[in-house]
C-alpha cells in the first residue's frame, strides 16, 4: 500500500516537473486560466450594470453563488479535470498501456496528466469566494462557517463525479468530442446563477434531477439568510454532501462498467 502511494507520488511529481520546465507555456497557461475565471466575473458585473437584480437576487448574493460554484468546479478540475482526455487515450490506444500496468486505471490516468497549471484557477476561485463572502456582509454563525467550508468540498466531489461520468461516454462513443462539456462546464455555468433564473423542465432537470441546485444555490441561501423562493426548507443547504456521494456512486458504477466493456480500438 505504501509503495503504491509512492509510485503515484512519483508519477505526479514527474508530471509537475515536466510541466513547470516549459516556463513560458506554463506561465501563459496559468495566466490564461485566471483570465477565464475573470470572464465569468466580468459577465456578472456587466449584467448588474444593466439590471439591479437577477432572478430576484442582488449582486452580492449572485457573487456568493459564483464563488461557491467556481471554487467547487476549480477544485474538481484540479483533481480530475484531465480525465476529459480519456477519449484521446481511447482513440490513440494509450489506454491499453495503462490497463496492463498493476495499478488502478482511474488513479493512473489522473496522475498521467496531472494539471498543475490548474492551480492558478483554484487559487483564484477561492479568492473570489472569500471576497464575495466579505462583500456580502454576512452575520456569521458557527453553522454558516462550517457550511462555507463543507460546500466547496462537497461541490468538488460532485463535479468530479460529473467529470468522470462524462468521460466514460468515450468508452461507447469515441468521437464524442465536447459532449461531456454540456454537463461539466454547462453545470458550472448553471450553478453560477440563482436557479430562479431558469424555468420549466430545464430547471427541474438540471437543478433537481441532476442535482446542480445543491452545489451553490441552496448553501448560498442559508449563508445569506434568504428564504428559498421555490419553497424548499433551509436544511436543504446541507444536502450537498449527500448529493455528491450519490453522484460519486453513479459515476463509479459507470466507470467500472465502461472499463469492463472496453475492447480497445484495434488500431
Amino acid at each position: 500500500m505504501v509503495s503504491t502511494l509512492a509510485v503515484y507520488r512519483r508519477l505526479v511529481g514527474a508530471q509537475a516537473r515536466s510541466q513547470a520546465s516549459y516556463r513560458v507555456s506554463f506561465t501563459l497557461d496559468l495566466l490564461g486560466n485566471i483570465v477565464w475565471l475573470g470572464a465569468d466575473l466580468l459577465g456578472i458585473t456587466v449584467f448588474f450594470r444593466i439590471t439591479p437584480s437577477l432572478g430576484g437576487f442582488g449582486f452580492a448574493d449572485v457573487l456568493v453563488m459564483l464563488g461557491l460554484s467556481a471554487s467547487a468546479f476549480a477544485l474538481a478540475d484540479l483533481a480530475v479535470g484531465n480525465i476529459e482526455k480519456l477519449r484521446v487515450y481511447v482513440r490513440t490506444g494509450l489506454l491499453d498501456s495503462v490497463l496492463i500496468k498493476p495499478l488502478g486505471v482511474l488513479p493512473q490516468l489522473l496522475a498521467l496528466d496531472f494539471g498543475l497549471r490548474r492551480l492558478g484557477r483554484a487559487g483564484y476561485a477561492l479568492v473570489i469566494l472569500v471576497a464575495a463572502l466579505w462583500y456580502a456582509d454576512i452575520a456569521w454563525t458557527p453553522e454558516k462557517a462550517a457550511l462555507v467550508v463543507v460546500t466547496p468540498l462537497a461541490g468538488a466531489a460532485f463535479f468530479s463525479a460529473i467529470f468522470v461520468a462524462g468521460a466514460t461516454v468515450a468508452f461507447w462513443w469515441i468521437e464524442s468530442g465536447e459532449l461531456a462539456n454540456a454537463l461539466t462546464y454547462g453545470g458550472r455555468d448553471f450553478t453560477s446563477y440563482p436557479i430562479t433564473v431558469y424555468s420549466g423542465w430545464f430547471r427541474r432537470l438540471f437543478a433537481y434531477a441532476l442535482g446542480f441546485a445543491f452545489v451553490a444555490y441552496y448553501p448560498a441561501l442559508a449563508v445569506l439568510d434568504e428564504p428559498d423562493p421555490l419553497g424548499l426548507p433551509a436544511a436543504t443547504a446541507w444536502a450537498g454532501p449527500v448529493v455528491a456521494a450519490l453522484a460519486a456512486a453513479v459515476a463509479a458504477a459507470l466507470w467500472r462498467f465502461g472499463v469492463r466493456r472496453y475492447r480497445s480500438t484495434g488500431s
Binding site: 490564461g32 462513443w173 455555468d189
Partner: protein, 287 residues
C-alpha cells in the same frame, strides 16, 4: 535571383477560371472533410444547444430584472435577446473561433513546407478549406440550435425582408474575418514555434470581446464603440446578430457592415504580408 516560393509571382499566366475552379474544389474538399466527423458534429450541436438554454435564461433574467421603460435591456427586448443567444449559438459553429490549430501544428512539425510546394497561395488554400467547413456548419451547426431555440423560446422575427440577405452577407464577412485572425494567430508559430500561448489569448479575446459572454452593447458606450472600431472582435459576432435583430436604423447598420468589411480586408491583407515574411524566414532558417 530571388526566391521561388508559393507567393512569388506565377511564372506563367493562369486563367482566372482555373483559379476559381481550384478554389471551389478545395472548398468542396473542406466541406467533405468536416462531413466525415459525424459523431463530433452531433456532439457539438448538442452541447451548443444546452449552452443556448443556459445563456438564454440568464439574458432573459437580465431583461426581467432591468424592466426598463419598454421592457428592454440596453435597447434589446426579451425576444431579441433570446434570438441573440440562439442564433449566436448557431453562428459559433459557422464562424468557428476555436480549435483550429492546423497551421500552427504544421509549422511546428515542419509539414508546412509541403504547403509551399503547391501551386496555390497558402492563404487562399486554407481559406477555401475554411469556407467549406463553414458551409458544412451552416447545415449541421447553425440550423439545430436555431430550431430548438425557436421551439422553446419566443424569438424575434425580422420586420424587413432585406434583413435576411444582409445577415447572410454579414455572416460571410464574419467567417472571412475570423479565418484571417486565426491564420495570423497560427502563423505566430513561424516565429514562436509554440503558438499555444497566442492561441489561448485568442480564445479568451474571441470569447469575451465578441459578444459571446454578453452583448457588447451591455458595456458603457465609449467602451463598446472603442471595441467595435479598434478591435476585430465585435465584427465577428455582434455585428451579424445586430443586423439580424434590426437593432440599428438602416444607415448605422450599413455603417457596422462597413466596419466589418474594413476589418476583414485589412486582416486578410495582413495575412498575405505575414505569409510572405514567414516564407523568407523559413528559407533563412534552412527549414
Amino acid at each position: 535571383m530571388g526566391f521561388v516560393t508559393a507567393t512569388a509571382p506565377p511564372t506563367h499566366f493562369r486563367k482566372l477560371q482555373a483559379q476559381i475552379h481550384l478554389f471551389t474544389a478545395i472548398a468542396a474538399a473542406g466541406f467533405r472533410r468536416y462531413a466525415t466527423y459525424r459523431q463530433a458534429t452531433v456532439a457539438a450541436a448538442f452541447t451548443n444547444t444546452i449552452f443556448g438554454f443556459l445563456k438564454a435564461f440568464v439574458l432573459l433574467a437580465v431583461v426581467g430584472g432591468a424592466a426598463g421603460a419598454l421592457g428592454t435591456a440596453a435597447g434589446y427586448s426579451g425576444p431579441q435577446l433570446a434570438t441573440f443567444v440562439w442564433v449566436g449559438q448557431g453562428l459559433l459553429g459557422v464562424v468557428g473561433y476555436w480549435g483550429w490549430t492546423d497551421l500552427a501544428d504544421r509549422i511546428r512539425t515542419g509539414e508546412v513546407v509541403s504547403d509551399l510546394l503547391r501551386p496555390v497561395h497558402p492563404v487562399a488554400s486554407y481559406l477555401a478549406t475554411d469556407l467549406g467547413r463553414a458551409g458544412f456548419g451552416v447545415f449541421t451547426r447553425f440550423v439545430p440550435p436555431v430550431l430548438v431555440g425557436a421551439l422553446a423560446f419566443d424569438l424575434y422575427r425580422p420586420v424587413h425582408w432585406s434583413t435576411y440577405p444582409l445577415f447572410a452577407l454579414s455572416v460571410l464577412i464574419a467567417v472571412l474575418l475570423s479565418f484571417g485572425c486565426r491564420y495570423l494567430v497560427n502563423a505566430t508559430a513561424f516565429w514562436l514555434l509554440d503558438a499555444r500561448g497566442m492561441i489561448l489569448a485568442w480564445a479568451i479575446a474571441s470569447t469575451v470581446l465578441t459578444g459571446l459572454v454578453f452583448p457588447i452593447r451591455f458595456l458603457p458606450d465609449p467602451v463598446a464603440i472603442a471595441l467595435w472600431l479598434g478591435t476585430p472582435f465585435p465584427s465577428m459576432f455582434q455585428t451579424p446578430l445586430d443586423v439580424l435583430l434590426e437593432r440599428d436604423p438602416p444607415l448605422p447598420r450599413l455603417g457596422t457592415l462597413a466596419v466589418q468589411l474594413a476589418w476583414a480586408a485589412g486582416v486578410l491583407g495582413l495575412c498575405r504580408v505575414v505569409q510572405r515574411r514567414a516564407e523568407h524566414r523559413l528559407v533563412i532558417q534552412g527549414g
